[in-house]
């Protein structure tokens, strides 16, 4: 149906620009089907990615190794013991960590885009990245390391820095009981630049450590480890649960704040809860992986363009697509320059940008 002329009657810019193909919005049972398929793809991606590396390990062996760990199955090991070490000490922690970070970034990107009602919002919008960068850079410069629960001081400092900056931005943007989103965004940009400048200054002061710091900033999983997985797991689980729980009010927020309040959404509370959930997820992800760009911006958009913007579907789907995407990006990044590694952030931008442009041209559907 041709709707351009009707569209001009409507308020929302989305409807105005939309060349709407209503039938393609995913509904009901088909949603569950797509989610199930995506879950399958994500799990298979994890397993297949674990087979790839300097030593190729066949997929059946990995599956048998995993099954052998289950208590009620007795499987006789028929694989070299070295495989077990490679899979459980190196490959699996790495791909799982990549999947979790990808999921966290994509979900928090979708959440930020939803509450800011701004398509350019990404997980780093209100200062998480600059805070993490500052914390991490500072930690790199310390002459000692203080491990805590298996995490290094760099991870902890990045996490604390990220949260400190978000809290500062949110408090600064708060005017008498409400937090205007524009003020929040601008405060984020201003404080963000401040901390980026401070980090840059520290990096120059760092001298011979500059390269290490810079590579950390570009993001990667060269230190995939179980302690990192355990450290960010609660943030991912709680963040995902909280954001999906508030998917409906987030949908209503897309109208405008007054309309949402009129329909019964406690907008200020919702913003606070969602900013907190998304920021905690991002801070946790960044602390173990560095600053991986593009996933949080592009994955939610891609999901929205293909399947529509209902947050009840958008959030879980973004988690799955973000996971699979980052697993593959990381796999390519560790194979392409083997035995060296390409920081995965470079790769996500390299693959993500053209793919996103392709989607944008193909679909031409304004979903914001």
């Amino acid at each position: 149906m041709k709707t351009a002329e009707l569209g001009s009657l409507s308020l929302s810019p989305a409807a105005q620009e939309s060349n709407l193909d209503a039938a393609s919005y995913l509904k009901g049972r088909r949603r569950w089907k797509v989610l199930a398929i995506a879950t399958g793809v994500a799990v298979v991606s994890l397993l297949v990615a674990a087979t790839i590396g300097s030593v190729g390990i066949p997929l059946p062996a990995i599956v048998r190794m995993l099954l052998a760990r289950l208590p009620f199955l007795s499987i006789v090991p028929d694989w070299p013991t070295a495989y077990e070490a490679i899979v459980f000490q190196i490959r699996l922690p790495r791909v799982i960590l990549a999947a979790m970070v990808g999921g966290s970034l994509a979900v928090s990107g979708a959440t930020y885009q939803g509450i800011f009602r701004n398509p350019l919002a990404d997980p780093y919008l209100i200062g998480v990245a600059s805070g993490a960068a500052f914390g991490a850079t500072l930690a790199f410069l310390l002459p000692f390391d203080v491990p805590f629960l298996g995490l290094g001081i760099v991870q902890i400092a990045a996490f604390v820095g990220a949260l400190a900056v978000v809290v500062a931005v949110y408090s600064l943007a708060r005017v008498g009981g409400s937090t205007p989103m524009t003020t929040l965004l601008l405060a984020g940009v201003a404080i963000g630049s401040l901390f980026w400048a401070a980090s840059a200054f520290l990096m120059i002061a760092a001298g011979d450590k500059l390269r290490v710091v810079y590579i950390w900033l570009l993001g990667g999983f060269s230190q995939g480890y179980w302690s990192g997985i355990l450290a960010i797991l609660p943030y991912l689980v709680v963040g995902l649960a909280v954001t999906i729980f508030y998917a409906r009010p987030m949908n209503v927020m897309q109208l405008d704040e007054d309309q949402a309040r009129q329909l019964g959404v406690d907008v200020e509370r919702l913003k606070l809860i969602l900013v907190a959930a998304a920021s905690l997820m991002t801070a946790a992800a960044v602390s173990v992986s560095g600053i991986i760009g593009f996933v949080g911006l592009v994955v939610p958009h891609a999901v929205r363009l293909v399947w529509g913007p209902d947050h009840r579907f958008l959030l879980p789907m973004s988690a799955l697509v973000g996971s699979a995407f980052l697993v593959w990006a990381d796999t390519v990044s560790r194979v392409i320059l083997a035995p060296g590694e390409l920081p995965v952030g470079i790769l996500t931008a390299f693959c993500g940008a053209p793919f996103f442009l392709y989607l944008l041209r193909q679909k031409k559907r304004a979903v914001f």
């Binding site: 149906m1 709707t3 009707l6 569209g7 009657l9 409507s10 308020l11 929302s12 989305a14 409807a15 939309s18 709407l20 209503a22 919005y25 409906r248 009010p249 949908n251 209503v252 897309q254 109208l255 405008d256 007054d258 309309q259 309040r261 009129q262 329909l263 019964g264 959404v265 529509g308 913007p309 209902d310 979903v367």
Partner: protein, 246 residues
């Protein structure tokens, strides 16, 4: 019942819109508010909806001071405010969903309201597949589905063509007859104010401390538009708005 006591309001860093303004709306009354653009009539509606807080004074609705939006006060805006990716039915269900109403009941309530508003066969359509008038009816259904005691309307029909506008005006009359609803309509359209408002408040330039009240008891009968009293009252309102605008 709505009581406005000594209301003062200003947007931050702007001059006062209201200054010690007082007003009273009894239950079941039908008001229209009209005035030159920028006079603060929409602001008054947002204050009544609990979406803005007075700088001084207070607003009391049904005996309780108004602190924030209330489920019993419904608001309809000019620009439908529908989610483009949800069907008409889905859009009507939005507010009910937020009130934790179960799926089946919710759908039944939403269906009934779409039916009452003549959209029974459009439940599965998306906003872009509906005309402007139909979209506004979906927005009205969404608000009425929440069973409000007070219905506030801010220029609800101003982007519609004349015929659609009249049919929706008739619809509002029919609906509020059934529902024993108090209605407050803000409009810049004189005929609309005179057709729908049994009491018409003509506002002047801010800061507003009082407004001119025109009694219009014949309003809301379907043949009123053709009567002489209708045209006389339109003239009267036109004159008052003109005076207050200068």
């Amino acid at each position: 019942m709505i009581e406005v006591h000594d209301l003062s309001f200003a947007y931050p860093n702007h001059p006062l819109v209201f200054q010690s303004f007082g007003w009273r709306v009894e239950r079941g009354e039908h008001w229209a508010i009209i005035g030159p653009s920028g006079c603060g009539k929409t602001t008054l509606l947002y204050l009544l909806a609990g979406l803005r807080r007075p700088v001084a004074g207070r607003i009391v609705v049904d005996g309780q001071p108004l602190e924030k939006p209330r489920p019993t006060i419904g608001l309809i805006l000019q620009d439908y405010g529908l989610l483009p990716w949800a069907t008409a039915l889905g859009n009507v269900e939005l507010g009910l969903e937020l009130r934790q109403m179960g799926g089946k009941v919710r759908r039944a309530v939403a269906r009934r309201w779409l039916e009452d508003l003549g959209l029974a066969s459009h439940g599965g359509h998306y906003p872009a597949q509906l005309s402007g008038g139909q979209r506004q009816r979906v927005a009205i259904a969404r608000t009425l589905a929440l069973d409000p005691h007070v219905l506030l309307m801010d220029e609800p029909f101003s982007s519609l063509d004349a015929l659609t506008r009249e049919s929706l005006q008739n619809l509002v009359v029919a609906l509020s007859h059934d529902a024993d609803l108090t209605t407050v309509l803000v409009t810049h359209n004189i005929e609309e104010a005179v057709f729908l408002g049994k009491r018409i408040l003509v506002m002047g330039q801010p800061p507003i401390d009082k407004a001119y009240l025109l009694e219009n008891p014949l309003a809301r009968s379907l043949d009123y538009r053709g009567k002489e009293a209708f045209h006389r009252n339109c003239e009267e309102v036109r004159r008052r708005v003109g005076e207050s605008g200068t």
